[in-house]
Structure formats: structure tokens, C-alpha cells
Amino acid sequence: MNRFFEVVRRDLRLALRQGSDSVMVVTFFVLTVVLFPFGIGPEVGILERVSAGVLMVTALLASMLSLDRLFQTDYEDGSLELLVLTPAPLGVVVAAKMLAHWLTTGLPLMVAAPVLAVLLHMQPEGFPILLAAMALGTPTLSLIGGIGAALVLGARRGGVLLSLLILPLYVPVLIFGVGAIDAAVQGMSARPHLLILAGILAAALVMAPWASAAALRQALE
């Protein structure tokens, strides 16, 4: 467990010193969402209707921006070899890196989302559910994305390949995230959607670190 937090602390420190990644992700999120009123016009009804979808799709794309760097820099400077040779299960080390990724991308997105929801005239009933859906959805994005990041390691143009691999896997998170918000706005219960999101998160939490660890071992062979 000590080793887990040691890796989290180190990745957070790296993110803090380099700074750019988190800022870039949130800026991309804000800018893209702000483009929509320009693109589809300022009518309140239309914006309100698309707000949940726009926020979730953009958050999903934004969280992918920094994903290819999750293992790439460690791979290039040799740190990854040493992380693999740590006397702890590799899954634990990988899970720590995924947690650090979520803390530096998913969490800032979650904080920014309600502000942007105001901009898109989302109904007030949607706000708590938006936060809940983001809280359950963004960790899943970091977990599933980590598998992709490990798989494309060492590939040329890994970033593009990563999007192609990972975007289809993000679809369930998108469907149930938007479904939950829409249900709440229309006065129905968002609970079933959120439970499914939680279920996806639970499954990803168990499987993603080990799948990712296997892919990393392959990449280093």
C-alpha cells in the first residue's frame, strides 16, 4: 500500500511541476463546450436539450488528451522498466498511475462541468446528477483509457491509434451518463443509469489495472 501511494505522490508531483497537462485538459473542455452555442445558435431550448450530451462527449474527449502520456514518458526514459521490476504486483503500480491520472484530469473536469452546464442552460434538476455521473464516469475513462495507453506503447502515432481503440469502449459511459441526466431533467429517476455507471466502474476497477499491466509487460519484451 505504501508503494501505491508513493507512485501516486510521484505522479501528482510530476503533473504539478510540469503543470501543462491538467490545464490543457480543462482548457480544451471549456473551449470546446463554448464553441457549441456559436455553432448551433443561442436558443435556450436547443442548448438545454443538447447540454448533457455535449458535456459528456467533450469531457470524454478531453480526458483522452493526456492519456497517451500516461505511460509514454516513463517508457521513454526507462522508468517503466524499473516500475515493472518493483517488488510489488505491477497491477498495483498501474492502478496508482491511473488514480493519479484521474486526479489530474477527471477531477478538474468534474469541477468545471457545472459551470459549463450553466452556460448551456441545463435545468437545475440535472446538476447533482451531472456531478454524480461525472464522478462515476470519469474514473472509468481513466481506467479503460489506461489499457489503451499501455497497448499503444511504442507504436508510432500512438495518440491517434489510442483514440480509435478507446473511443468505442467509452460508449457505455456516454450512454448511461447522458441517460441519467436526461432522466433527472424529465422528472424520472436517474438511479438505474447511475447504478449501471457504478457497475461499469466496479468492473473496470478490478480488470483494467491487470489488463494494463499485461499490456505493459508485452510492450517491454
Binding site: R3, R17, E76, S79, L82, V84, L85, T86, A88
Partner: protein, 236 residues
């Protein structure tokens, strides 16, 4: 789990009938070796003869195509974490984060290897001192020269205790004084019951070290294939 340095009696690290295949080509085959506590093994051979590959196999980064590694008679593959705990691997890359200071870089690896934080903290200071890095400890990694980076990476060996050191060309970019310091550190490690396996093209003084000529286990190779081409090819 915690590797005790001396007073644990003698250990033996051995490999039997090891073979390595890279990219459909046999790098070496039928390789045997055995090393006891305090021993040293120098891997010799031209570029492409599989020195780096062998060290990666010994570290557990690469699965041998054939053969097995054993520690005191027990198969290494049965408990890879115990093997990782008693092993330090030093590869071609220095694993130095440019935005972390020398001490932070070193402390991270030491804590990861040995979670007893306080003990690791003292060991880090000693390791920095030993490789003449004490005055650089607060300098960020990006300001270091190639030789200073290598010394920081070497200091990792002392920052957390391990019985088995696998060093892939440890003298690269080192000046003469640093090579002398490394030789002294290696001698001390062996006197304390540690083992060293290293590959080198440079002169390094390792009294009583056994030599393993890898070209004897190699099928004929095309000239000009570098032994680290797999790493570089993947990264390019």
C-alpha cells in the same frame, strides 16, 4: 521479502540451458551459468551478442525462450516479486525525471524498493555522498550532464539494499574518478555477500570475476546489429 545483505548465509543464482529469441532470430542458446554470494560475472561479446538481452532475462523483463533461472534451487518464475526485491537492474536509460531533483528521483526509487521510509532516507543521503552527488541533490534532473545522470542512477544501487545487481554497461558516460568510485562500491557489495553481473566494453576492475563470452552461444549474426536495437526500434 526484505533482502538481507550479509549474515543470511550463501545464496546461489543460476541459469540452465537459457535461450533467447528476438525478432525470430536466436540471440543465444544453451547458456548455463552459476553465481554464488560475493561473486561477479562479466558478460563479454561484440555488439548484438545478446548481453543486454541476457541481463533483461535475468532481471525478469524478458522471458527466456527456453531454460530456467533459479535462486537457491527455487525457480525464479515461482515468485517474481521476491526476485524483484533482491534485484537491482540498471539499463541503458537513466530513469531520471527532468522536473524532479536528484534527491527526489533517488528517494522515489529507494522508497519503492524499500518502503521503510526512514531507513531509505538515510540510505539516499549516503548513496548521494558516495557518488559525489551530495552538492547536486537539490538540482532538477534536467540540469544534469549525461555522466551525472548515470551517477544518480548508480546511486540507486546503494539507496536500497539488494543482493543481486544487474548492470548493463554501467560505465557509459562516467569519468575516471567515477569509475574508481563504482569499482569500490562493487567491491564492497561483493564483500558483503552481494552478487554482480555486468556487461561492459570498458576496462573495469573486478577481482576474481568470472567471464561469460556470449559469442560462444550465438548463432552467426549479421554485422552492425546493435544489441539494444529492440528498445530503440520500438521507441523510434
Amino acid at each position: 521479502m526484505v533482502p538481507a545483505m550479509s549474515n543470511q548465509g550463501s545464496s546461489t543464482f543460476s541459469g540452465t540451458n537459457l535461450a533467447c529469441v528476438r525478432g525470430g532470430r536466436v540471440v543465444f542458446a544453451g547458456l548455463d551459468f552459476s553465481l554464488d554470494s560475493g561473486g561477479a560475472l562479466v558478460l563479454l561479446g561484440p555488439n548484438g551478442s545478446g548481453k543486454s538481452s541476457l541481463l533483461r532475462v535475468l532481471a525478469g523483463l524478458l522471458r527466456p525462450a527456453q531454460g530456467a533461472l533459479a535462486w537457491n534451487g527455487a525457480l525464479v518464475t515461482e515468485d517474481p516479486e521476491a526476485h524483484a526485491a533482491r534485484t537491482h537492474y540498471l539499463g541503458h536509460h537513466d530513469a531520471i525525471k527532468p522536473v524532479l531533483t536528484v534527491a527526489e528521483n533517488l528517494r522515489f526509487w529507494a522508497h519503492l524498493h524499500d518502503p521503510h521510509a526512514e531507513r531509505a532516507g538515510r540510505a539516499v543521503d549516503g548513496a548521494l555522498e558516495r557518488f559525489g552527488l551530495a552538492h547536486l541533490s537539490t538540482i532538477p534532473g534536467k540540469m544534469l550532464s549525461a555522466g551525472q545522470k548515470r551517477r544518480t542512477n548508480l546511486a540507486r544501487l546503494l539507496a536500497a539494499p539488494s543482493e543481486l545487481w544487474l548492470l548493463d554497461e554501467p560505465t557509459t558516460a562516467l569519468d575516471k574518478a567515477s569509475i574508481k568510485a563504482l569499482e569500490a562500491v562493487l567491491a564492497e557489495h561483493r564483500a558483503g555477500g552481494g552478487m554482480v553481473i555486468l556487461s561492459t566494453h570498458a576496462e573495469i576492475d573486478l577481482p576474481g570475476a568470472a567471464e561469460l563470452h556470449l559469442d560462444r552461444f550465438t548463432t552467426p549474426l549479421t554485422d552492425g546489429i546493435d544489441d539494444d536495437f529492440d528498445d530503440e526500434g520500438a521507441a523510434a
